[in-house]
């Protein structure tokens, strides 16, 4: 198995008495889309900015593309692309000019026109960035991170504050990265975003990883009981069962035999959101 693209062991980061990151272990492999999911203030951005080389860690070991980000130089930066959590663009340059400016920083950039298409800004190439909508600006952020043709991309809360349509468009741009074979580390506090985009998810709360896995099996979602609820002759009923097929069979059999209807019948597995809220409940969830 090749070396992981990102490898973290026992990572800690303190600001004075405040421990923002309290011992994180993680590996991200080539071609993977990995999501850090957690509420605001959980330590996501701190961790990502340590991996990007913006912050120094307090303890632990970190290797990104085989190098320590604190010491890595220009050669290493050729291979990574960064979308910061909040960053504006120069409003007086056009989309194409912004990308050309950044393309000039790299030894072997991707063709600018190709990047424009890739992030879905084909019709806006000659528009000044100050005139783009929030969603379009964010896609250009992704384009700016992509123009150097990096192997690894960091996306820090790529869609925070977006309306649903802008999020959908940003997701499409990010999903396109997978097809390019890029490794992506993204942070988000939206459950559906992690579910939609990531191969693997780590839930982070108060500086620690509290669960990890694929979006499907996260937090042992598979083995959690299923909830069945309905309104019958006894009134509102809600049952929890580990064997939903059998329970349903008995229930519908009884309903048919006794001739009543199971109104509002609902079979519910715990959603990723349920797991997330349960795991991060000591934190105040974002509004």
């Amino acid at each position: 198995m090749p070396d992981p693209v990102i490898s973290i062991r026992g990572l800690t980061k303190s600001y004075g008495d405040n421990e923002a990151v309290r011992g994180i272990d993680l590996e991200v492999h080539a071609g993977e889309v990995f999501a850090f999911l957690g509420p605001n203030g959980a330590g996501k951005t701190t961790t990502v900015e340590i991996l990007e080389g913006y912050r120094k860690r307090s303890g632990g070991e970190v290797a990104v593309l085989g190098e320590d980000p604190e010491r890595a130089g220009g050669q290493w930066r050729e291979r990574i692309g960064i979308v910061l959590q909040s960053c504006r663009l120069d409003p007086y340059l056009t989309v194409r000019e912004s990308l050309e400016l950044y393309a000039g920083y790299y030894a072997s950039p991707r063709p600018v026109d190709e990047v424009v298409e890739l992030v879905g800004l084909g019709g806006k190439a000659d528009e000044r960035t100050g005139k783009l909508s929030g969603g379009q600006q964010r896609r250009l952020d992704v384009g700016m991170a992509l123009v150097g043709d990096p192997e690894l991309l960091f996306l820090d809360e790529p869609t925070t504050g977006f309306d649903p349509q802008a999020r959908r468009q940003a997701w499409e741009a990010i999903a396109g990265l997978r097809q390019l074979g890029k490794t992506v580390l993204l942070t988000t506090h939206y459950m559906d975003e992690a579910q939609q985009l990531a191969d693997r998810v780590a839930i982070i709360a108060a500086g620690e990883i509290v669960a990890r896995g694929t979006p499907e099996d996260l937090g042992d979602r598979d083995s959690q009981p299923t909830t069945i609820s309905y309104r019958g002759p006894e009134g509102e009923v809600s049952l929890s069962t580990a064997t939903p097929v059998q329970t349903l069979n008995e229930l519908t059999g009884r309903a048919l035999a006794e001739g009543f209807e199971l109104q509002n019948l609902e079979v519910r597995r715990p959603t990723l959101e349920d797991i997330y809220l349960e795991l991060t409940e000591q934190e105040v969830p974002p509004a």
């Binding site: 990007e52 913006y54 050729e78 909040s86 960053c87 504006r88 340059l93 700016m144």
Partner: protein, 256 residues
Amino acid sequence: MSLVLHQFRYDQKAFWRNPASVFFTVMFPVVLLLIFATIFGSQTVDVRGGIKTTTYYVPAIITLSVISATMQSLAMSLVIAREDGRLKRGRGTPMPAWVFIAGRIGNSIVVALMMLALLALIGNVLYGVAIPWDRLPAIVLTLVIGAAAFCCLGIALTAAIPSQDAAAPIVNALLLPLYFLSGVFIPDDQLPSGVIHFADAFPIRHFFEAFFDAYVPANGGGGASVSWGNLAIVAIWGVIGLLLAVRFFRWTPRGG
């Protein structure tokens, strides 16, 4: 080096498209020159044995425009870029930090040279203030040393500016009084000597004197056109600015 040119090209584009930078850096000095020349144009100033007011104000306003194109413009635009996260984003690329700074300084110096040409031309065409072609090397040398020094001071100043909103007030609160006290707005002969002594403690007065000496020939023409003493003081201020900038300049936003 070609990377510096690359950066410079895009800085130029962004500069000329930004209405605020064009107004404050280019239009404002022109308007000031027109106003001072219109109000005081018929008088004389008692320096160098008496010269026309307009002959005084052309180099004075060029001095102001150089400081505006360098210190003022850089301090404001760098703080805005820093708080926008644009400087941080740039640091995440392979581009070395010095390339970015060199592009910005180059941009400022080129704008300062353009202002020299523009104001010298207006002074000549409208008010008959001679363009001292024979002293051009001294003028350009003085301007470039001054421009470089005030660039360094502008970059250093960003460390003292916490937010985008604070940029214009802080920069103007520093520069405007010194323009008055240094003889840029009010001719030397009307300033008490105590005021000039005070202004001598700051670089604007020395840069103005150096530029004035380069631009306005001494009585009977000729004479030393490069004021080395004043230029040396300006350069020392520049070096201090550079050291402070290296030590305190931030690439990441202050707010959050």
